[in-house]
Every structure is written in C-alpha cells, then in structure tokens.
Amino acid sequence: MIRLELKPLETIQDAWTMLEQAIGVEFGTLPPYLYAMFSIPPGQNVPSASRIKSVLLQEMVHMCLACNILNAIGGAPALKPPSYPGFLPGGIGPDGKPLKIRLLRLSREAMKQAMDIEEPVDPLDFPDAPLEALAAGPTAVTIGEFYAALDAFLATLPGQAWKSNRNQITDDQFFAGQLFAVNAYPDAHRAISIIVSEGEGAKDTPLDFQDELAHFYRFSEIYRDKVLTKAKNKQGYQWGPRKLGVDWTKVFPCIPDPGVHDFSKEPAEAQAAQAACNLAYSRMVDALQSAMTGTAGQLGVAVRAMFDLRLAAQVALRTPLRDPKLVAGPAFVYTPTSGGASQ
C-alpha cells in the first residue's frame, strides 16, 4: 500500500504543497499503468486492457481535478515528471520505506505493484484469497486519509480564499461528466470524494460511488484472473468462479524499466523508437503543464501528444532490441520541449 507523508496543515501554502503532492501521485501512476497497457497487443487480453485503461482514464481525471482545486485556492500546478524506476512523491511503502515504482509489462508483478499503489486502508476480504492486514506507520497515511485531511482543511477556508473560474479544466472536450470546475469548497469536496471513491471504493463495498469496481479491485481481478462476483456470503462477494481470461504470455516481450536500459548499444531503430516515445511524452507533459495553468487549447494539444505517444509506443514495441526476442516500451524520459514543466 502506498502511504503518503502527512504534515500538519496550517496555512494555505501547506494545502498547495499537499495538492502538488497529490497531483504528483496521480500523474506518477500513469507511466506504470501505461506501460502495462501498451504491452498488451491489440486484440489480446481484452478484459485486462479494458480494466487498466479505465483506471488510467480516471487517474487522468483525478489529476485534473486536483489541479482544479489547487488553481481554485490560488496555487499554480507544476508537473514534476518522475523517473522510473523511482518513487511516487512522498510515497511510502508497506514497510515504512518508499515504494520503488517500476515499469513492467502486463504480469502478476505489475498488477501486484498496481494493487500496492491503489490498496485501501482496509481492503475487503473475500473468500478464496484473503488479503493480509497491513500495518501503518505513525506518520504515514493512505491516499484516502491524505485526501481526507486535505478535505478537512479546505472546509475551514473562508469563501474569499476560493477564486472562481481560475484556470479550470472542464469536461467540454474530454472526459464527459467527469471533469468539472472547482469554484468553492463544495466542488472541492465533491472532487475529493470522487478521487477517493474511485481509487479505494467504500469501506463496506468494493464498488465506487457509481457502482463500478474501485481501482484496487480492478487490478485484483487481473492479478487473480477471476471476476469479483456477487455472492450470498457474509462479504457479499467472492472471487470467481468466472475467470477474467488473462493470458500472461500474450504480451509484447518488453524489458522492464527501459529508463535505466542502455539504448546506446541497441540497434538504431530501437534508439529512434525510444527517442520518438520520449519526445511525444515530453510534448504531452509540456502541453499538460500549459493546460493546467490556463492556456486555452493546450489540453487538446496534450491529448494529441498522448496519441502520438501511443503510436510511438506501438512502433517501439515492434522494434527488436539487440536480443531479437526482446523489445522495449516507452521509458517515459522527460526532456523539456518548451520549458513547460518542472524537472
């Protein structure tokens, strides 16, 4: 389970810092989830790809909502693209140490990592494979608790602390029904409730506020290759019996952690493919940075860059390395293209 360091919240600057961290965590989940999703060839492992994609899209929404809150209280979002393998901002793992996030193709290991990131404070225990209870460090909180503390602080802010319509990203182009402007505390509270609900679900159900499975359980379904199914038992659910249909072998043979791979020894085509991925990713980050700070049209530029990244990844994942049995997915290495994002 990812736990985040929680410092006392006393000033609005503390809230800005906390929201920056939240934005970093939401953004930071994208590369590992994208890597796993990209590693699935078209038409293969469809239920798995669909579940990972659904989480990815919601993480993007969560990031935008966190930006909206930060903008609404006068802050200025600054994307800090992480390097992988590496750590989520402020992230602390189950043993009280930072959890190193890796870029892994679709695999049990990748899904376990995703479950670790998304695990709620008290994961529901369903028959067939009960989960171990996890101990919390004294200064570390779950993402849900982290947001709860933020929510409690935001509730105390006076009305004039909220700046209406400041650099807000709404659903007028993308994410219909999911993105909305934060203009006052009730909007922020709603945004936080959605982020926590979709990530962790409710205390007594694996479902989120829209009766969809929370992220942890979507990844668990892939990990276990079983559909979480309603059941007439104490818990209300059980794993299976229907299988999800995961075939761990039906993935591109991509290496783990391409960010630390020495591509200078790889064929020129593989180097070019990586360069194309990194360029598209960097453009996406820079456009996102502009969009978050209120530049009209830049979200559309970022989305186009995201599609470019996908196209570049598809080339990379079909380009053999020196060992012709292997390929590499995108390393998500950021290089500023327009001075947009922070490093």
């Binding site: 219909a176 499975l213 199914t229 196209l311």
Partner: protein, 594 residues
C-alpha cells in the same frame, strides 16, 4: 409490443455526441460521389483549415470523432407489472454504450445510426445484462419541436433509438435482483427472440453552454473561441451533450428490431407539437410510450401541460368514440414521471374498453377534445433502415407490415415511393408472415435516396417524407469508381484517390494512423485490411467510420497494401481521370438547409 410489456427495466443519464460535421456540408463533401470536395491544387492541410474557418458558419465540430458515449447513465427503475420500482438491487448500476454516430445521408438529419460492439448494463460479476451487438442502433421519429426553449442547432429536437439483441448475444446475471430474475424468466419463452433496447435522446447542448441560441452573439463568441482553439493545433473535439431515457424489454418474434413496431399513435396536432407515440394493449392494460412525445418548455425541462390527456377508441370515421380507455393527468406525464419511467405510462382498462381498443383505432385527445395523437392501423416498416449498396449491385429488402401492432397475413399491398420525387417506384404484397420483399437497386454514379413505405390498398403518395408519420428507409449507393480501381497502386495514387478523402475530413485520424505517411500505412496493412473489410461493416472500429469507401477505392487500397514498396515505386504513372460531375441539385438542396 416489446419494451412495453413487463417486465421491463429503465435507464437514464446523458450522452456525448462527437460527430465530424464537415461532411454535412456540400462545400466540403459530396455525398453522391462519397468524396471530400478537395479543389484542384488544394492540399489536405488547406482543406482542414477551411473546415476550421467554417466553424462560425455552423460547422461546429471539425475535429469530431463520430463517437457517442453514455455518461452518468444508470439503471433507474423497473416495472414488473405493478408500476415502477426503484428499490431493485439492479437500480443504480452503470450503463455503458460507446457507438459511432454516422448519418447514412450526411447532409440530412433523418438517417442517423450508431455502430457499436456492445451495450453493458451493470458490471461483470454483479447484476448485469451484457449485450453483444448483432445490429446497429437506428434513429427514427426525429422530433424537431421537442424543446422550443433550446433553439441551438439540433438542440430543439429529440429522437428514438432502438436496437435488439438475440438471446445468444446476451449474458444476464440476475443475482439478487427481482427485476433481472423476472426478465430472465420471461426471456425463456419460446417466442421471445431476446431483448430490445429503446432510448430517447433529447435536450442537446452545444459548446457546453445551455444558454446558447442560433444566431446569438454568445454563439458567435463560442464559435470564435473554438476556431481559435483549433488553430492552436492538437486535437480539439467539441462534443455536444444530450439527455437519455431508455427502456430494456422483451423482443418477441415478428417485432421490428430497430424501430418501434407497437401500435403507432401518430402526431396529429398542427406543427406536430405532440410527437408520435406507441401503444400496446395487454388484456386489461394499455401501455403508451410517450418517450419522444411531450415537449419541454423551459430550461428546467418542464413538460408542456396539456391538461388531462384522454385515450379513446374510435370508429372508422376517426371521430365517433367507441370507448373511453382512460385519462392521464399532467402529473402522469410531467418531468418527474417522464424521468422515472422513461416516458412510459400505463392505463388500466375495464373489459369492455379493452375489447373495444383491440380492433379499433386509438386516439389521444385533450380534455376539451382536441386530437393530439391518432393511430394509423397499418404500418409498413423496413428491416433495412439504412441500406448501403455498391453501384451496379442490388439487394433484396424486406418490409414487415403491421396492423394495430401485430403482423398482418398474406395479401396486403405495400407501395414504395421515392422520398424526393414522391413517385411510386414499386409495389409488392405481403406473404403469410406479413412480409413484402423488394429488390432495391443501386443508382448510377452514386447517390443517397430516401424511400417512403405505404401499406394498404389504393395507396396515395404522401405529401412529403415526414419522419413523424411516414415509415421510410434510406439507400446509399457508393459509386463503383472503376477508374480508381484501375489505377496503378502507387502511393501517390492511393493517397490522392483514397486516403486523402478521410485525411482531409477527419483530422482525428491523426490520433490513430497518419494517413499521409506511407510507411505507417504500410506497417498497418493487415489491420487496415481488417478494419476496412466489408465483412466488418457493423463493427465499431470499421474504417472509414463514415462507411463511404467505394469499391474502386478499396480495390486500389488493397492493391497498394499487397504490393511491395519497391514494386510500387516502379509503377507507371496513373492515366488522367475525367473529373466527376457534381450533383448540383443535391448540393443546392443542402445549401438551402444550412
């Protein structure tokens, strides 16, 4: 019939519409030749820029994708025979639908359809109905006076969508849901083919602003802002948003799959203020689908108050009342009732009234006797609502005739009229199943033509195609394009004669495949051939989305994809082609409607 039986399940929510609008305009697209109108010497980039410049004139979404998607849509209730319930465990479950919105006739608004792969009600592992597509969803009975308050592009309108799923395409997991348990039991009946899903979309908002009105300064400002955004680059869709109410119910043998086949109560007020509705008589109950019928009058979506609406059975003269069937007070058709039961209302009849209603026409009248809806007993409904033909080909198409919502027997005359000239183009009589067969022929050079269907003896040509009252079908002929097929399969030819069409009109394609990049196109050859294979025509991902690739274009494209790059480079230059003639009459008509 169908969804008007119980058990039935309701859903409600919203839908995003994201069509490319460029092909709605004859300045940019020729629907007869199925080609983007790229002037000699004009580049694809210049064409795209022209489309952006046309945003202020009404082309509101040059970066559309054709996708339409449910959002914030959930199961809202069920009726197991004793009225609407909202405490079933299935209620609140999410509903998922992702379709490609494509007009068979791109200039017009009456031939919309959605190509999709699945509909999902609930989630895997929970209470769910999972439906794999077997046929597209079709729009019918478009109502252009639905919401007079919302006069913005098509925001004033509403439309009925319908598709059906055979049993083999369904997975229904009832768990602890009485509604799904009842549906599961009912669906097992021998004469039930599967499930029909019917939904109504209405109150469409453009530019994400419910206050915009056609021709207003605010609308001009919104269009200017979009134009500026488009000029920033990137991917800048401008989806519209609408509301949805819908119903899931039984699909019985002989019931039409893609439009209501129930008893048709047609719009009778001047201006069709109350749009056509559908009714089913089941022993002591008359169920009426008013899902598309009662207009909203304000931004709060308040329904127009007509006072009590009375259902009566009338004699053949259409005036004499044979029996009073019941009455609906305003609260039975107001906004709350509409959203609670997706516009479906039920009247309990006494035995005498039920008997009278069985063989007589039904009407809906206001309390002071004004006729609002009048049943047309005989209806000839197409099974191919939007038929695509290649030039030179023909296809047999079947028309099912209903009388009071039930299939007729043998010997009923069906006449087809050209929807433009209103000339009779053929007639046939029904077989013992009430089906008349016609051979629909393609049109030389390509065209999109509507046909009106009239059932019964002594047919009279309708005054016009009225989607509220006249059953109709569209036939789109794609030109053979033999000259294109005969071109050498070089990159220059395949790009200029095939791919540039969609590269110009659909900038969204840049997200998935750069159509102007020979290497990419070649790299995706197997996928391209799969996605453009006519055998996959119904699939969500079929390419081109607009279903307008001509046989000649396909032949040239496949010849190119099958050729080796080096060989292609050595091909001789293409012989010069004669320029195609534009259908000026069609273009003129479309210009008038813009």
């Amino acid at each position: 019939m169908s969804v008007l039986e119980t058990p039935r399940i309701y859903f409600r929510g919203e839908i995003a519409w994201d069509p490319i609008t460029t092909n709605n305009d004859p300045d940019f697209y020729n629907e007869n030749t199925a080609e983007s109108v790229i002037s000699p010497g004009e580049t694809v980039q210049a064409y795209r820029e022209s489309a952006i410049q046309a945003v202020p004139t009404g082309l509101w979404n040059p970066h559309g994708t054709h996708r339409s998607i449910f959002f914030d849509t959930e199961i809202s209730g069920a009726d197991l025979g004793a009225g609407t319930i909202t405490d079933d465990p299935f209620v609140g479950s999410p509903c998922g639908f992702l379709g490609m919105l494509v007009d068979c006739e791109p200039y017009g608004a009456w031939s919309s359809q959605q190509f999709f792969d699945s509909m999902q009600f609930g989630i895997a592992g929970g209470c769910q109905i999972s439906c794999a597509r077997t046929m597209r969803a079709v729009a019918r009975y478009i109502n252009f006076v639905r919401n007079s308050h919302n006069r913005m592009i098509a925001g004033v309108g509403s439309v009925i969508w319908q598709t059906s799923f055979p049993k083999a395409a369904l997975q229904l997991d009832a768990h602890d849901s009485p509604a799904l348990i009842a549906l599961n039991k009912a669906i097992a009946a021998k004469d039930v083919l599967g499930l029909t899903v019917r939904w109504n979309t209405y109150r469409t908002i453009y530019y994400d602003n419910p206050c915009l009105r056609n021709g207003s300064a605010a609308t001009a400002a919104a269009a200017a802002a979009l134009e500026a955004k488009l000029n920033e680059g990137g991917f800048q869709p401008n989806p519209a948003r609408g509301l949805v109410v819908g119903v899931i119910g039984l699909w019985r043998k002989s019931e039409p799959a893609q439009e209501p086949g129930d008893r048709a109560l047609l719009a009778a007020l001047p201006g069709e203020v109350v749009a056509s509705a559908f009714a089913r008589l089941d022993r002591d109950r008359l169920t009426i689908d008013l899902g598309n019928s009662i207009p909203e009058v304000d931004e709060l979506l308040s329904k127009q108050d007509f006072g009590d609406l009375k259902a009566v059975a009338v004699a053949a003269d259409g005036v004499t009342v044979l029996a009073k069937l019941g009455s609906l007070d305003y609260h039975q058709y107001d906004r709350n009732s509409y959203e609670r039961a997706s516009g479906i209302v039920t009247l309990r009849l006494d035995a005498k009234a039920a008997k009278a209603a069985k063989g007589a026409n039904i009407q809906i009248r206001t309390g002071d006797g004004v006729l609002v809806l009048a049943e047309q007993a005989l209806r000839a409904l197409p099974t191919d609502h939007n038929l695509y033909l290649d030039e030179g080909k023909s296809a047999q198409s079947f028309i099912q005739v209903f009388k009071h919502g039930a299939p007729v027997g043998a010997g009923t005359l069906v006449t087809i009229y050209d929807g433009n000239s209103l000339a009779s183009v053929g007639s046939a009589t029904t077989n013992s199943s009430g089906v008349a067969a016609f051979t629909m022929s393609s049109i030389a050079g390509g065209a999109v033509e509507p046909y009106i269907l009239v059932a019964g003896p002594n047919p009279v040509a309708p005054a016009q195609l009225d989607p509220q009252t006249t059953p109709y079908m569209y036939v789109r002929t794609l030109p053979a394009d033999a000259a294109t097929a005969a071109l050498p399969p070089t990159w220059d030819n395949v790009y200029a004669k095939v791919l540039a069409n969609w590269n110009a009109m659909a900038p969204c394609m840049d997200n998935w495949l750069r159509l102007n990049d020979e290497a990419q196109v070649r790299a995706y050859a197997p996928v391209l051939k799969q996605l453009t294979d006519p055998g996959n025509f119904e699939a969500y991902r079929f390419m081109p989305v607009t279903r307008d690739m001509t046989p000649g274009e396909r032949t040239l494209l496949y010849a190119f994809l099958d050729s080796a790059p080096a060989a292609a480079l050595e091909m001789a230059e293409a012989p010069a082609q004669k320029p195609r003639l534009r259908n000026l009459e069609k273009m003129s008509r479309a210009m008038r409607s813009r």
